[in-house]
C-alpha cells in the first residue's frame, strides 16, 4: 500500500477506526461523537460502523467523561475521551490531575490507566472564547501524564495509534487550525518513537522549535529566512511530556542558536522548559540566549485580535532576527 494524501481530520478518523477494529477493548467517548461525528467530525461514521457500545455519546459533563473513562480503564477497557474544545477541559481537569495521573503510582503499579484524552487546541479559527486555548503546560507540569501534539497528518495518524497503545494516560492535543491541511499518510509505514522530536527541515544558522499548529508557521518562516540567506533548522517537538532534549541538543550544538515558538502564553510555558534545559546542556555552544515567541500573559483575545496574539510568521522571524543579532 502506498502513501495516501489526506487531511489531518481524516487521518485522525482513520486512526480511530483502525484502533477500534484491532482491539475490541478500545472505546471512543465524548459529547456528540456519535451521530454527529464530533463537532470537528473526527469521529465521523464510527458509531455507525462500531455501534453505540463502542462509540459512546456522553452527557455534557467533562468530569463525568474523564471519571468514567478511568473506571472503564480499571475494568480493562481502553477509552479515548474527546473533549470538544481546549477551554472545556477544565471541568474535567480535577479528574485528570488528581486521579488519572496518579492512580498507577498510588497503586504501586498494580493498575494501569490506558486512557487517551483528545483535545482540539489552539487558535486561528475565529472562534469565541474558551475555543482557542493552548493549555498543554498545565498538563505537562503533572507527573503521570504524557502530552503529545502532532503537527501533520502522518503524525496525527501514527501518534494517535501509539497513544492508544500506551499504558499511560496520554493527553493528545490536536491542532484544530490544521485539521484541514493535507499531507501524506503511509498507513503501511513504520512510525518512529512517540516521544521523539523530528528535524523537519535541516539548517545551519539557528534551530527553530515548534509543535502542533506552529510547525507550519515555523516551516514558512524557514522558507522566508532562506530568501534572506539564513538557514533555519526546524524541529517538530511532537511530544511536550517527555521532551526529546537529545534531538534538540544535537541541533543546537550545530547551530548555536535556538528559538522556541508556541501558541501558549510564553510565561511558564513549554518554551521556558526547553530554554532552561537547553541552556544547561548547551551553555558553551550557545551564541545567543534561547528566545521564546508565543502568546501573551493575557486571556486569549477576541477573534478579531487573535492574529496579534498568535505567533505568526512575522513575530517568529522577528525572534529569529533578534537571536541572530547577538
Amino acid at each position: 500500500m502506498t502513501a495516501e494524501k489526506m487531511a489531518m481530520a481524516k487521518a485522525l478518523n482513520s486512526s480511530l477506526r483502525k484502533a477500534l477494529e484491532s482491539d475490541p477493548k478500545v472505546l471512543v467517548m465524548g459529547e456528540d461523537v456519535g451521530k454527529l461525528g464530533g463537532v470537528f467530525r473526527i469521529t465521523d461514521g464510527l458509531q455507525k460502523d462500531f455501534g453505540e457500545e463502542r462509540v459512546i455519546d456522553t452527557p455534557l459533563a467533562e468530569s463525568g467523561i474523564i471519571g468514567t473513562a478511568i473506571g472503564l480503564a480499571l475494568r480493562g477497557y481502553r477509552p479515548i475521551a474527546e473533549i470538544q474544545f481546549d477551554g472545556f477541559v477544565f471541568p474535567g481537569y480535577d479528574q485528570i490531575v488528581t486521579q488519572l495521573a496518579k492512580m498507577h503510582a498510588r497503586s504501586l503499579g498494580k493498575v494501569k490507566l490506558p486512557v487517551v484524552v483528545r483535545i482540539p487546541f489552539g487558535g486561528g479559527i475565529g472562534a469565541v472564547e474558551h475555543h482557542s486555548e493552548s493549555p498543554e503546560a498545565l498538563f505537562a507540569h503533572v507527573a503521570g501524564l504524557k502530552i503529545v501534539a502532532p503537527g501533520n497528518p502522518s503524525d496525527a495518524y501514527w501518534m494517535l495509534q501509539q497513544a492508544i497503545e500506551c499504558d499511560d494516560p496520554v493527553i493528545f492535543f490536536e491542532p484544530k487550525a490544521r485539521y484541514w491541511d493535507k499531507g501524506e499518510v503511509d498507513a503501511a509505514g513504520i512510525p518512529g518513537p512517540l516521544h521523539a522530536a523530528k528535524v523537519v527541515r535541516p539548517g545551519t544558522d539557528l534551530t527553530l522549535v515548534a509543535y502542533g499548529p506552529t510547525v507550519k508557521t515555523a516551516l514558512a518562516a524557514a522558507v522566508a529566512a532562506e530568501e534572506d540567506g539564513v538557514s533555519l533548522e526546524v524541529i517538530d517537538l511532537r511530544s511536550v511530556s517527555p521532551i526529546d532534549f537529545d534531538t534538540l541538543q544535537r541541533s543546537v550544538e550545530k547551530t548555536g542558536r535556538l528559538v522556541v515558538a508556541h501558541e501558549a502564553p510564553v510565561f511558564f510555558g513549554a518554551g521556558a522548559e526547553v530554554a532552561a534545559r537547553i541552556t544547561e546542556r548547551c551553555f558553551y555552544h550557545l551564541q545567543a540566549p534561547v528566545l521564546r515567541v508565543g502568546g501573551f500573559h493575557a486571556p486569549y483575545p477576541p477573534a478579531r485580535l487573535e492574529e496579534e496574539y498568535l505567533p505568526g510568521l512575522d513575530r517568529v522571524l522577528d525572534s529569529v532576527d533578534r537571536a541572530l543579532a547577538y
Binding site: 457500545e53 456522553t58 452527557p59 459533563a61 468530569s63 463525568g64 474523564i66 471519571g67 468514567t68 473513562a69 478511568i70 473506571g71 472503564l72 480503564a73 480499571l74 475494568r75 480493562g76 477497557y77 477509552p79 471541568p91 480535577d94 479528574q95 488528581t98 486521579q99 496518579k102 492512580m103 498507577h104 503510582a105 498510588r106 497503586s107 504501586l108 503499579g109 498494580k110 493498575v111 494501569k112 507527573a143 503521570g144 504524557k146 500506551c166 499504558d167 499511560d168 516521544h195 511530556s241 517527555p242 521532551i243 526529546d244 532534549f245
Partner: protein, 390 residues
C-alpha cells in the same frame, strides 16, 4: 412498630408529626421513611420490603466484624496520638453501615471506597495493617485493588463515584452480573462528581450502588449545609430508586444493600442507599468536634450504638454466650497487638521509590531525574567511604 422517624436537624420533632396530619399525608398509607430491622434496644422488627433470615452464627459473625473493626479503629487512633500515624479518619459509630453493606456483597463485586471504609475493607478481606501505610506516610495505598476488588482509598471527595460508574459501565458491556459499590458521605453529595455519576449511571443503566453514609457531619458542616431534602430522595430526580436505611442497624443495612446489589446485578440500573448514621468521633484526628457540635447530640447517638444494639439482640435471642464475648475480647487484643507491631516494624520506603510507577511505560524525564538523584545519594556514600579510607 418501632420504626424511627427522624426530623430534619434543628426542627422540633413536633413539626414532623404535625406534617403527617395534612390532607396529602392522610391520603397516603404511612410508609416507613427509614428501613429498620433492629431497634436500639436490640429488638427485631419486620419490614414489608426487606425481610432478613439470620442464623445465630451469622449474627455472631456480624457482631465479631463490628467489634474487631472498632478495635482496629481505636488502635489506629491511639497510634496516631502516639505519633505513629500522621492522620487517622475514625469510623467510630459507622460500623453497622460498613459491615452490613460489606457483608452484603459477593467476592466478584467491586468496591470504590472513600478514605474511611476500614470496615468495608475488613469485609473484603484486605489485611487491616495495609490500610495504615498511607496514614503513616509510606505509600498512597498499599494494597492491590484487584486482589480483593477493593479499590484504593480516594481522598478527593466524590471522585470515586465516577470511577465506580465507569467501572459499572464496563461491567454492563461485559455482560457480567457484578455489582459495583461507590461509598461516599453526605458532604460528597454536594460535589459535582457525585451528581455527574448519578447522571451517567442512570442514562447508561450502570450496575452501581451508590452507598451514602450520611454521618451527619462533613468535618464541621452539618448535613443541612449539603441538602434541603433527605439525601435518598435525590435518586428520584435522576430516575432511579433511593432508600434510607438505619445506618446503625447492621441487619437493616445488610438486607437493604443485599437488595440493592441484586437490583443492580439484574440490570435494573443504579440504586442509591442512604445509611443514616453518625460519626461518633472526629472527622480525622486533626479535627475537634467540640467546636461545632453539642455534647447532647453525641449522647443521643450513643444510645443508638450499632454494636451495643446487636449485643442486646444476641443476648435477647440467646444467640451468644459469655464464652463468645470473652473469646472475642481476646481476639481483639491479639489483633490490636498485631496492628501495633505491624506499624512499628513498617519500613520507610527507599528514596528511589519516588521514581517508581510514575509511568507504566517510562518517561525520559523521570529516568533522568532518577539517575541524578541516585548519583547525588551515591556521592554521600563515596564521601563516607573516603573518610573510612583516611
Amino acid at each position: 412498630m418501632t420504626v424511627e422517624r427522624t426530623a430534619p436537624r434543628g426542627k422540633p420533632r413536633r413539626a414532623a408529626t404535625k406534617k403527617t396530619t395534612t390532607a396529602a399525608a392522610r391520603r397516603r398509607p404511612p410508609r416507613p421513611e427509614m428501613v429498620q430491622l433492629l431497634t436500639p434496644e436490640g429488638e427485631r422488627v419486620e419490614h414489608p420490603d426487606y425481610a432478613l433470615e439470620t442464623t445465630p452464627e451469622q449474627l455472631r459473625g456480624l457482631y465479631r466484624d463490628m467489634v474487631l473493626t472498632r478495635r482496629f479503629d481505636a488502635e489506629a487512633t491511639a497510634l496516631q496520638r502516639q505519633g505513629e500515624l500522621g492522620l487517622w479518619p475514625s469510623l467510630l459509630g459507622q460500623e453497622a453501615a460498613q459491615i452490613g453493606s460489606g457483608r452484603a456483597l459477593r467476592d466478584d463485586d467491586y468496591v470504590f471506597p472513600t478514605y474511611r471504609e476500614h470496615g468495608v475493607a475488613w469485609c473484603r478481606g484486605v489485611d487491616p495493617t495495609l490500610l495504615l501505610g498511607m496514614f503513616r506516610g509510606v505509600n498512597h495505598g498499599g494494597w492491590d485493588p484487584t486482589t480483593n476488588n477493593f479499590h484504593l482509598y480516594t481522598i478527593v471527595i466524590g471522585s470515586q463515584a465516577l470511577h465506580a460508574t465507569g467501572y459499572a459501565m464496563g461491567v454492563a458491556k461485559d455482560g457480567a452480573d457484578v455489582a459495583v459499590v461507590a461509598y461516599f458521605g453526605d458532604g460528597a453529595s454536594s460535589q459535582g462528581d457525585v451528581a455527574e455519576a448519578f447522571t451517567f449511571a442512570a442514562v447508561y443503566n450502570a450496575p452501581v450502588v451508590f452507598f451514602c453514609q450520611n454521618n451527619q457531619w462533613a468535618i464541621s458542616e452539618p448535613t443541612e449545609r449539603q441538602t434541603r431534602v433527605p439525601l435518598y430522595q435525590r435518586a428520584a430526580g435522576y430516575g432511579f430508586p433511593g432508600v434510607r436505611v438505619d445506618g446503625n442497624d447492621v441487619l437493616a443495612v445488610l438486607a437493604v444493600t443485599r437488595a440493592a446489589a441484586e437490583h443492580v446485578r439484574t440490570g435494573q440500573g443504579p440504586m442509591l442507599v442512604e445509611a443514616f448514621t453518625y460519626r461518633m468521633g472526629a472527622h480525622t484526628t486533626s479535627d475537634d468536634p467540640t467546636r461545632y457540635r453539642r455534647k447532647e447530640e453525641l449522647e443521643v447517638w450513643e444510645g443508638k450504638d450499632p454494636i451495643l444494639r446487636l449485643r442486646r439482640c444476641l443476648e435477647r435471642e440467646s444467640a451468644a454466650d459469655e464464652a463468645f464475648f470473652a473469646d472475642l475480647e481476646r481476639e481483639s487484643d491479639v489483633m490490636a497487638r498485631r496492628v501495633r507491631e505491624a506499624i512499628r516494624t513498617m519500613p520507610d520506603p527507599d528514596g528511589m521509590a519516588m521514581f517508581e510507577h510514575t509511568y507504566a511505560d517510562g518517561h525520559a524525564l523521570v529516568d533522568e531525574e532518577r539517575a541524578q538523584y541516585a548519583a547525588y545519594v551515591a556521592s554521600f556514600a563515596d564521601h563516607e567511604h573516603g573518610h573510612e579510607g583516611v
